[in-house]
Structure formats: C-alpha cells, structure tokens
C-alpha cells in the first residue's frame, strides 16, 4: 500500500518534473540573451578554450620533426614528456627556459618600475595641477601608445647603434659620440624603448582614477591634523590602488610577451627572452618546445592577475558616498609652473618626434649613415627602373601597396567585428547578470588577456592549419587574421561592451518587449543606438591596435595576407634598413591618422584601455 503510493507519487513527480523542465527549457529558450549566451560560449570555446587545450597537447605530443629526426621509435601525435624534459630538465634548460624567463621577468618588472611612476606623475600633473595647456598635454601623452612599440626599438637602434656590430654608425656615433654597449643593446634599451610605449597605459588609467577622486577627502584628512605624508599614505594612495593595480597587471603582462623590441635590440648581444625563444623554436621546427614555453608565460600572467586580485581584495572600486559632486582641487605649482610644463612637453616631444624623425632621416640617407650630403628619395620612390623591393622605393613596390591595403582592410574589418561582438558580449553578460552563463562568458572572454600575443598567434597557426571538425582549414586566409585579432582583443571589447550595456536601463528594452517588438528590432533600434558611443571607443582602440600589432600576426601572415608590420620586420631581418624604417614611418602616419580621424568622427577617448 505504502509502496504503491510511493510509486504513484514518484511517477507523478517524474511526470511533473519533466513538464516543469520542458517549460523551463522553453522559457529559457525564449530569452534571446540566453540563446546568444550559448552561441557566444560556443564561439569562445573555439577561439579560447580549444587553443588553450591545443597548447597543452602540442607541448605534450610528438610532432613530425621530433619523430623523423630525434625519436624514430615514436609516432607523430603520441603523448610524451620529451618537450617538458627538454626545457625543464636537460642541459638546454638554462638556454631555453631559465635565462630567457629571467630576462622576460626583468624586462617586465623594469618596464613597470619606470612606466608606472612616470605615467602616474604625468597623470597627476595633468589632472591635479595648474599647468598650462593641460588638455593638449593629455592628448599628446596618448600618442606613444598609438605608435608601435617595436618602432621605438628600430628608432633606438638607429640612434644608439655602435661599432660593436660594425658597418655604418648610428646617429650618435656619426656625430662623434661613442656609445657603450649597455646603452646600445640588451636590457637597458629594451626597457627604455618599451617604457616609451607603455607609460601612456599608466597615464590613461591613473588619470581616470585621479579625476574621479574627490579631493575633499584629502582636505578632510588635512583638517583633522594628518600630515601631508600621512594623507598621501592613508588616503590618496589607497584610493589610487585599484588603478595602479590594473596598470601594473596590464603593463607587466604585455611587456612579458612582447616580441619585436627584444628581437631587434637583443640579438647583437645574444639577449633572448621567452618570446624570442618561442619564435625561434617555431621557426626551427621545435613547436613542442615553443608551446611548453608558452605555458610558462600563461602561468606567470595568471599568477600576476591572481596576486593583484588577492592584494587588492574586494576593494576593486571605491564609491565615495556623499550628496555633493566630486570636486577636484588643483595644486598650484607656483614658480615651477612654466619650467615643469616645458619639461613635460619636452619629454613627450622627444618620445614622439625623436623616433619619427630619426627613422625618417635614416630612410633618406643613401648608406643609412646620416650623411646629409647623400640624401636620396630612392628608398621611398625608387631609382630609375628599379621596382623590386631590395633596391626600389617602398611607395612603388607592389608588395608594399598590397600589404598596406591588407593592413587597412584587416584593421577596419576586425575593429568592426570586435566592436559589434563586444556589444553582444555586453548584452549577454549584463542581461543575464548573476547567472552561471553570464559569469562563464565574462571569464572566458577575459582569458586571451593572459596568453601572450606571440603564443596566441602560434596556437592559431597550429590550430587552423588543417580542417578541424566543421571548421575548414583557415591557414593563409584573411579570415584567420581577423579571427585572431578579434579573439585577442576580446578582454577589452567585452569589457567595453559590458560597461556600455550597464548604462542602458533595462526598462527601455522591457517596454519594447511588452509591446511585442521583436528581438532583432529591439537590438537595432534600442540597444545598438544607445550602446553606440561605447562601441565607438572599442572600435577606435581595436583599429589602432590591429594596425600596429606585430607579435600576434608575425607567425600567421602569408605572402597573400602580408601586412605592413610583418613586412617591416622582414626587411629588418634582411638588412634593408632604410626600407624598413620608411615603412615604419608609413605605419606611424597611418595609425596616427586613423586615431585622429576616428576620435574626430566618434568624439571618443581612449579610456577603456585597461579593460
């Protein structure tokens, strides 16, 4: 009796449960943000999760080259600890892992130590003091960010090159100043060249934080009897901490994986980093070794982010509660006002104009030796009848023209895709706020942040080299370049999208929903128009970044998809210095005009840089 009731009840429960589940699924499916969420998870799986798995698999299996020349008893694809052993427990360990890793870490720390105080100081000067022409100062400070970091390396080389490597002298030696090796190649120049590119990151993030900080908090401290030092330590610094933390993580993890600058300035003194070793290993058929190295970089980046979150704890953002609006009190610099302004302008001017003019000048001299009596336009427009790359001018070289077109196409297309997908990410995450799906998407979209560019390119190379399930082989296609660019920018674009979506009150869409407006219509006439300014910011950032990127695509470009940055690097490698410098100038001009055009049109600023 009891039993039968039990069974009956159970049956009823199962039946009801099924029905309930059916309704739940149906209801769930009727919510577009969930559908979109699922699609995004699928996309993220392909662009982020599988690449990560691929690195681990690549680092732990035999490749063709390993089998054919090293382990004849093995099979391609068989599991092995060979690569791990090679980098971690073999005579190669110091050369492949320990030294490069120490170098990479030293560079990343060095860049942070110089760029962070520099950018913060500049931010304070621009936001909180009475310096003249602060607006111009702020705008100019962002320009080194727009210029590629490896261009700084080229410029450095052009100026500081000394007799160690022989041949024509650098600018300083040509002027009769002798340059010591430590200033010409290796650690110091790498850090300084990268600092010029990375201090704007700190500037942008910290100035945003300073601008939103209420100076009354500091004043209150002073009124209550705290010394200037105590106020700085107990009030100002803690309030700045989150911004400083994100700037630290951003600069550190970017510097860790940078390839171009150490490759150019490190080679003459055999100063290698993990990124350059990854590049060498892939080029020499040791992809497994490269992937194992990549895993180290990913772990270090993750650790940095974890530590940052741990140290800062929950104090991610401060909300100062008070009825009044914030007030920013400017510090009077008094007599120092003009000298400081001159100093700041000189510094920024040197950071922007020095590289540009040195590269331009070098590209105009016949032997690249700054001999002004032998100026020539040969490397720009070519001599007589010479139209091939090694002797002709870059502007008449069809390969340069094709690369220029590819560069523009790639940056515009990927910026469009990136900013639109950012919006969708924002929609899916914000509408389903708090759900598991929302958190999953947010975290997955952040993952490319911890994978260094050179490694990300390497994974995409191996992953899309052959067809894979329903995905056709994409090697050598333009689509692949767009995909890798969009995927690498996901952490930034998704953040931009999320913050844009947060600002749209959900009642707007709900009202339309109640009126029976379709989802597509709701997206088109409510969400997209309102999210436009956020999207525009994402668009500009992606546009500039993809115009100047090198590490990400250096392993992926093929002759038909060649872009200017990769072409410059090839010219550098081949010793066509003037042509390389001329193209570098061309890239700077292109990114700067892209930046100005986009900011003019979109009236937006680079404030989402830190994600």
């Amino acid at each position: 009796m009891r039993d039968s009731v039990g069974v009956y009840q159970e049956k009823r429960t199962v039946g009801q449960g099924l029905k309930k589940m059916f309704f739940r699924v149906q209801r769930w499916l009727s919510r577009p943000e969930k559908i979109m969420g699922l699609i995004l998870v699928a996309v993220l799986a392909v662009l982020v999760v599988i690449p990560l798995i691929q690195i681990v698999v690549g680092a732990s299996t035999f490749s063709y080259s390993d089998v054919a020349r090293r382990n004849p008893d093995s099979e391609v694809g068989a599991w092995t600890i060979y690569h791990w052993q090679r980098i971690m427990a073999s005579p190669l360990t110091p050369a492949l892992l320990v030294k490069p890793l120490l170098h990479s870490l030293a560079i990343a720390i060095g860049v942070v130590l110089v760029a962070l105080p520099l950018g913060s100081l500049l931010a304070w000067l621009v936001v909180r003091t009475d310096l003249p022409m602060k607006k111009l100062m702020g705008n100019l400070s962002i320009i080194p960010y727009v210029m590629p970091s490896w261009v700084m390396a080229l410029a450095w080389f052009t100026v500081f090159k000394n007799s160690r490597i022989g041949g024509s002298p650098g600018f300083l030696e040509a002027m009769g100043v002798s340059v010591p090796n430590w200033l010409a190649y290796g650690y110091i120049p790498i850090v300084l060249a990268m600092t010029i590119h990375y201090f704007p990151y700190a500037f942008i993030l910290v100035s945003g934080a300073i601008a939103s900080m209420d100076s009354q908090l500091e004043e209150t401290g002073r009124v209550l009897g705290a010394s200037q030092k105590t106020v700085l330590r107990k009030i100002t610094f803690p309030l700045m901490l989150p911004a400083l933390g994100s700037a630290f993580v951003l600069i550190f993890s970017k510097a860790l994986g940078t390839f171009g600058t150490p490759a150019i300035l490190g080679l003459p003194v055999k100063y290698y980093t993990v990124a350059t070793r990854v590049y060498h290993s892939i080029r020499n058929g040791n992809a497994g070794t490269a992937y194992a190295l990549v895993i180290f970089l990913v772990l270090i980046s993750s650790l940095t982010i974890y530590m940052n979150a741990k140290v800062l704890g929950v104090r991610k953002k401060f909300t100062t509660i008070g009825g009044k609006g914030t007030r920013v009190k400017t510090t009077k610099l008094g007599r120092a006002r003009i000298p400081v302004a001159v100093l700041v302008f000189t510094f920024i001017g040197v950071c922007i104009l020095a590289p540009l003019s040195m590269l331009l000048l070098q590209s105009l001299t016949l032997h690249g030796d700054f001999n002004l009596s032998e100026l020539t336009l040969k490397f720009w427009i070519g001599g007589q009848g010479e139209v091939y790359a090694s002797d002709g001018g870059i502007l008449r070289d069809p390969a340069v023209q094709a690369s220029m077109w590819n560069t523009i196409r790639l940056s515009v297309v990927s910026a469009l895709v990136a900013s639109f997908s950012g919006l969708f990410f924002g929609y899916a995450v914000v509408k389903a706020r708090g759900s598991f799906l929302s958190k999953l998407i947010e975290n997955l979209a952040f993952t490319p942040y911890i994978i260094p560019s050179i490694a990300f390119g390497g994974i995409f190379l191996s992953m899309f080299a052959r067809s894979w399930g329903p995905i056709p082989s994409l090697y050598g296609t333009f689509t692949l370049l767009v995909l890798v660019t969009v995927a690498k920018r996901l952490p930034y674009t998704s953040r931009t999208g999320i913050s844009a979506m947060m600002q749209i009150d959900k009642s707007l869409e709900e009202a339309a929903y109640l009126r029976g407006t379709s989802w597509v219509k709701r997206m088109w006439s409510i969400i997209i128009p309102l999210g436009k300014s956020g999207m525009m910011a994402g668009f500009i950032l992606s546009l500039i970044t993809s115009m100047r990127m090198l590490s990400l695509i250096i392993l992926l470009v093929t002759p038909k998809t060649m872009v200017l940055t990769a072409m410059t690097y090839r010219y550098v490698e081949q010793g066509f210095t003037q042509q390389a410098n001329a193209i570098a100038v061309l890239i700077i001009v292109m990114t700067l005009s892209g930046y100005f055009l986009a900011t003019k049109l979109g009236k937006s600023k680079l404030e989402h840089i830190g994600g």
């Binding site: 499916l29 190669l92 032997h367 899309f464 090697y475 090839r570 490698e573 081949q574």
Partner: protein, 407 residues
C-alpha cells in the same frame, strides 16, 4: 521554431554545406596526371605545348629565398608575358610556408626555390615537392645535381674581410684564429637560429672535424677539448661562441658590417653567402673572401622544384627552364663572360639565371663560365661541398649545442 532557433538552424546549415564543399578535392594522382609529373612525366618534353599551356594558366606563384628572383620575374614577363608573383620568404620561411600550406590543403605556391636538408629529406620523399628537370639542360647536369633535387645554383660561402683596413690581404690565415682574444667580439655572422644557410656551414664544419683538427695542430699544437665534445668541429663552435661573436639578422647586414668603408677596426665574418660581394659595386662595400685553412669556400645548394598540387604546373615548368638558363655558354666553350650580364648576348644566353650570375654563385651545369670577380673553385682553393645527409641527421644536435653554449 522561434526566430533565434531559425538563425541557429541556418548557421548549422551553412557549416554543413562548407564541409561538403571542402570535401571535393583533386587527388595527388589526378594532379600528377594533369601536370605530367612524377610517373606521368613525359619522355620528351613538348616545349611548344608547355609554353602554350603556361600562357593559359595565369599568374605563377614563386616562394624563394633570394630577392634576386624579382629580376628573373621581370625578364620572365618580358619573354613570355606571364606574370610571376614572387615572395621572398627566406630559406627557412619558404619551405615551412609551403609545408604548412600542404598540410592545410591550401595549395598556393607553384615553385619553391630554396635550400636546406628538409627539402631533400622530407619534402621530396613525402611528395610535397616534385623535381622537374628541363630537357634543355638535363644532359649538362651531373647526376647529383638533378636527382633527387634539381640544383638551380651553387652558393659559395666564405669568410669576408675588409680590404681597406687590411690592404696586405686577409688578417687571418687559419679558421682557429677567429677563436683568439684578438678577435673577441670582432667576429660577425648571421644568426644560425634563423638562417638555414649559416647553420649548414656550421654543421658542415662538424662533419669535417678531422681537417679542422689538422688545421689546429698545424698552427697551435695539441687541441684541448674544452667544450665537452671530442670533436674539433664542436670545439671550434664552442670557442667561437665563447669569443662573443656578434649576430646579425641577414647576410646583407653581415656584408655591410664587415665591408663598410671608413671603419677603424672592422669585424671579420664567419662563413656567409659570398653573393653579397655584389654589394661592393652597388653599395660601395670593400669586401673580399679570405683564403684560410682548412677551407676557403663551402658550397651551399639551392634547389628549384614544383609544389605538389601547384595550380599552374606548366608555367612552373617554364619558370624552371628559365631560371636554369640555356646551355649555350657551355656549348660555346666560354670560360669568362664580360658584364653586363642582364642584357644583349649574355642576357639571351643566361636567361633567368642572369640575376645570380656573379661572384658567390655558380650554375650547376658542368663547364659553365665564371663571372668577373668570382673565386675559382679549382685548386689551390679549398672547397667543401655540403653533406646534406649529415646535416639532416645532425643539425638538431648541433642546434642544441649552439643553444647550450650561449648562442
């Protein structure tokens, strides 16, 4: 089905279609038949038919390790009106791109012109590259230069020194001199980690360790092995590395570093492609090849072949015939040619080989004439050909040795 459901279904449909379409592709047998290569290679090559077919095929795609290929492309256009799209990808780059594309099933290239042991010991045996020997030159080539790979040219590697700073001849006469304190930080070479040719020269030294040992004993007495390997080749690499050599990213940079005039204390090069001696004329450099024991010149190899599934096989065949040049200079028994080489009678005979006709390169045909300023490969010049099989087997170990010792 609601709207979003339809979208999902449509996307799945598109994917399915993509898979179906990509599944239909030519087999290697069908391609070989179409291209008349491999087992389908014709006994007698009908050049009129090949030329006619080549003109129908459209733009030819060439991956090359030499920027001079652009000049051959220009003359190819002038001769046949066929456009050749040339991609200068470097020695490691050309082959690795081709192999990646082969693996991916995207067959973009027609002709590969590069060197390296992987070409002979992987790409040819695996059927990624097919050798095509034009009937015009076949009889003039020694067997080892046409099988398994067709040699387009022999590239000569030597040690360059600055003649302005050393008017009395080379500052060294023995390769071991490079390891002495006098040459600390003054030896420059192309980074072997990115340069196949430099690596081959280094590997070949390991192969010839006995001669290296003899050269050492001749000048310095008993050799002490300090680098951990009982092999004079490894010992030389070890000692050169300990002497702080300066790495460059290209042979052009090496030539400029050594040969730029007006230098007080110019460096000396390690083995490097001597074709950069042409920069003496075009860029005013003052380089010469040092004659030293045990070897003056190492002979590198550059091959030319047709990529498997090449979209334009006839144009590829015609290209190969073009860059080999005609055998006329041999038939006429010429020993020296007077520049210019690109134009007039010389240009007509040399055809697409003319860009490489100069010091530093040699045509593989027996009895082919030399260019002005070219080093004689006859005795007393010491010449070592590269042993590609040794290199294929040992290059990775040598690469590791290089890495371990600070390269």
């Amino acid at each position: 089905m609601n709207r979003s459901g339809k979208i999902v279904a449509a996307m799945l449909g598109v994917l399915l279609l993509a898979v179906t379409v990509s599944a239909v592709a030519e087999t290697i047998d069908e391609w070989l038949q179409r291209a008349a290569l491999g087992d389908y290679g014709a006994e007698a090559q009908d050049w009129d038919a090949i030329i006619a077919a080549a003109k129908e095929e459209g733009t030819l795609v060439v991956y090359t390790s030499s920027s001079r290929t652009f000049l051959a492309g220009d003359s190819f256009w002038d001769e046949y009106g066929i456009d050749a799209q040339i991609f200068d990808l470097g020695s490691t780059g050309s082959l690795s791109k081709m192999i990646s594309e082969y693996d991916a099933g995207r067959h973009a290239s027609d002709v590969i012109m590069t060197g390296g042991s992987e070409y002979v010991f992987r790409a040819i045996p695996e059927g990624m590259i097919y050798t095509f020997v034009p009937s015009t030159v076949a009889d003039y080539l020694p067997e080892q230069y046409k099988s398994p790979a067709l040699f387009q040219r022999l590239s000569l590697g030597g040690i360059l020194y600055n003649t302005e700073a050393n008017p009395d001849g080379p500052p060294i006469d023995n390769i071991w001199d490079l390891t002495t304190p006098e040459w600390k930080s003054r030896v420059t070479l192309k980074d072997p980690l990115t340069s196949e040719s430099t690596f081959n020269y280094i590997s070949n030294l390991v192969n010839h360790h006995e001669e290296l040992l003899a050269a050492y004993e001749l000048e310095y007495g008993t050799l002490e092995y300090t680098g951990g390997r009982e092999n004079a080749g490894y010992e030389l690499i070890y000692r050169v590395l300990k002497n702080d050599p300066v790495l460059q990213s290209s042979s052009e940079n090496v030539a400029k570093a050594v040969g730029e005039p007006g230098q007080e204390n110019p460096p000396i090069s390690f083995y490097v492609g001597t074709s950069k001696l042409t920069l003496n004329q075009t860029a005013g450099l003052v380089n010469a090849i040092a004659d030293i024991s045990p070897v003056d010149v190492q002979v590198g190899e550059t091959y030319v072949g047709i990529s498997a599934f090449a979209p334009h096989p006839n144009a590829a065949k015609l290209w190969i015939r073009w860059v080999m040049g005609t055998p006329e200079p041999v038939e006429l028994g010429l020993t020296d040619l007077i520049p210019p080489y690109h134009t007039g009678e010389n240009g007509r005979m040399l055809q697409g080989f003319s860009p490489w006709f100069g010091p530093g390169n040699a045509n593989p045909m027996l009895g082919y004439p030399k260019a002005q300023g070219a080093i004689s490969l006859d005795p007393p010049t010491q010449v070592w050909p590269l042993d590609m099989e040794f290199i294929w087997q040992n290059a990775l170990d040598i690469q590791d040795f290089w890495l371990i010792n600070g390269g």
